[in-house]
Symmetry: C2
Subunit: 334 residues, 2 copies
């Protein structure tokens, strides 16, 4: 793992889509104390609620790294951001990136890094290989967040549950599987960058044997019902061997993001199929809750949907940002 | 893709397990005309039915490459084979390998390659990147072989069906997804070596738009019910968008190979779950047959099992090595 230099200046570029800016939003939400500001190239770009600073101003405010807070579809670096990254290096900042494109693969950025002596950290690219999965049960307890789509709260839910478990005195560890989670946690495995044969093996490595009452709370990735990423989700499910599962869902989303021809799967179907696959490596796996992303809804509507789904599915149903986590924590610990 | 120099001397080493020697067995079966002999380090090693030759004898018989015909569990190169590979380079042979370990990553082999001017071809490692899957329907027709485990005939079945379709005058192409298939076909994508995020995208790339009556016959990998490799199988299924599926099965296998604690899934369950996932990217996907691996059984027993399963499942049930493919070809084309 790379050691990341903090605090961050969070780069938003000209990105106007909050879904694409989920890295920056997540870092600003969970480790705001490590973010001195945001750098936006236009006023229309997503606002993370941090002070707008240039790289030079951020250096003066104590920043050590420019953190690329945007994950465009496909994970490649938009060519028109190269000049901004070089300017940040020249201002004295290191660069932290979670994109598929390695910063060092872009000659101008690699050259500017050498010239300035500043570090390039590609947290999406693990610097090690992993063994083949064994399917063997490990000690300790595990929770995995899964979803009906990408980008609807699997990381937020895992972080909120880790906090809630710790507040109850439970020994719990957040296990990061994506770039933002790794930036927040300071360690983890970018599971979607692992060679396909070793997805389950990498997931086994991420949550090793632990004390019987310890909980690993594992950040889910993608969706079993996603036409591009389902393989990642299935390997992560098998390797994580979760005892407890939480299904993350956006009740207003009718189609998979960026796949307008692929409808979102009904929750009963998602639960049934996920359990079928989960039982291959942990026959005791069960769902303990439904995490709803209700941000665009009014309080009354959000509660109504949560109550309806809770009754239908027989599970605690909550928005981890908005409602309390008491019921789901009870379900996890019972 | 690497251009492979033929004919081959097939290296079996000291491997005694026919499952681990499936690469050599497959190449000897499908392109025997390209194999001048086999090189076994002990008499107990698997016999491919080729003449036993040393690298020097094979060179005199016209061989151009040593093909590593064994895939040990996990895909790494056993250290005690290094001297044999160097001896083959010194005899004048190129090396073709489908192992996870890159030949060029072993300093002694890399040095011997430079010294002798012979080529190292790691066919498992694709030399290109792939786009994210789109889930969009492509023109032309596709068949994918899937399985209840690894190493039970998915490649053999796809090759046999390609031959049978061609014999019927159908325009068909075998699409290789593993090292042996690539060695046989001369091109393809090692799907389990692709970065996890791009499994479905690589599968989409492998079988591009084609004429409406053209069939791509795609080699399956792993199993949706395998604790280590299911992610690969699911991504390949989504990206292949098969119209027709064939389920490959070994009726004598009770547990997943190398996973003695994981029972083989019942065929009805495998069919139901595979179709559920297949319908995400092709709602018209259907099973057209069951391919049995009946090698250890007598003719009468093999026929009895095939008849029983055919009646139970309502599908043509055949051993692609042993029985005719007429019924399954009818089911594909109807």
């Amino acid at each position: 793992m790379h050691v990341l230099e903090r605090p961050y200046l969070v780069f938003v570029g000209d990105e106007q889509d909050p879904v694409a800016a989920k890295t920056g939003i997540g870092v600003a939400h969970w480790v705001r104390e490590d973010c001195v500001g945001q750098w936006r190239l236009t006023n229309e770009a997503v606002d993370l609620g941090l002070p707008d600073l240039s790289p030079g101003d951020a250096m003066e405010a104590g920043a050590r790294s420019l953190l690329i807070g945007v994950s465009p579809f496909g994970g490649a670096l938009p060519p028109h951001w190269v000049a901004s990254i070089i300017a940040a290096l020249e201002a004295g900042l290191n660069i932290v990136s979670g994109l598929h494109t390695r910063l060092s693969s872009i000659p101008e950025i690699a050259e500017a890094s050498r010239r300035t002596g500043r570090q390039l950290s590609d947290v999406r690219h693990a610097d090690r290989t992993f063994p083949v999965g064994t399917g063997k049960k490990r000690s300790g307890r595990r929770l995995l967040t899964v979803g009906t789509d990408c980008a609807l709260g699997k990381k937020f839910t895992a972080l909120a549950i880790t906090r809630a478990l710790k507040a109850r005195g439970v020994d719990a560890t957040f296990r990061a599987t994506g770039q933002t989670g790794i930036m927040i946690a300071g360690s983890g495995i970018a599971i979607d960058a692992v060679v396909a044969d070793f997805i389950a093996g990498a997931a086994e490595t991420l949550s090793p044997d632990a004390a019987p009452d310890h909980w690993d709370v594992i950040e889910g990735q993608g969706s079993l019902f996603h036409p591009a990423y389902a393989g990642v989700s299935l390997g992560l499910l098998h390797g994580s061997q979760p005892d407890a599962l939480i299904l993350c869902h956006d009740p207003l989303r009718a189609y998979v993001t960026n796949f307008a021809h692929v409808p979102i799967v009904p929750l009963t179907r998602a639960i049934e199929l996920t359990l079928t696959h989960a039982h291959l490596t942990n026959p005791a796996a069960k769902f303990v809750g439904i995490a709803l992303n209700t941000a665009p809804l009014g309080e009354a509507d959000a509660l109504k949907i949560a109550d309806t789904l809770s009754f239908e599915l027989g599970l605690p149903c909550f928005d981890p940002i908005r409602f309390g986590l008491q019921a789901v924590v009870e379900a996890i610990l019972c």
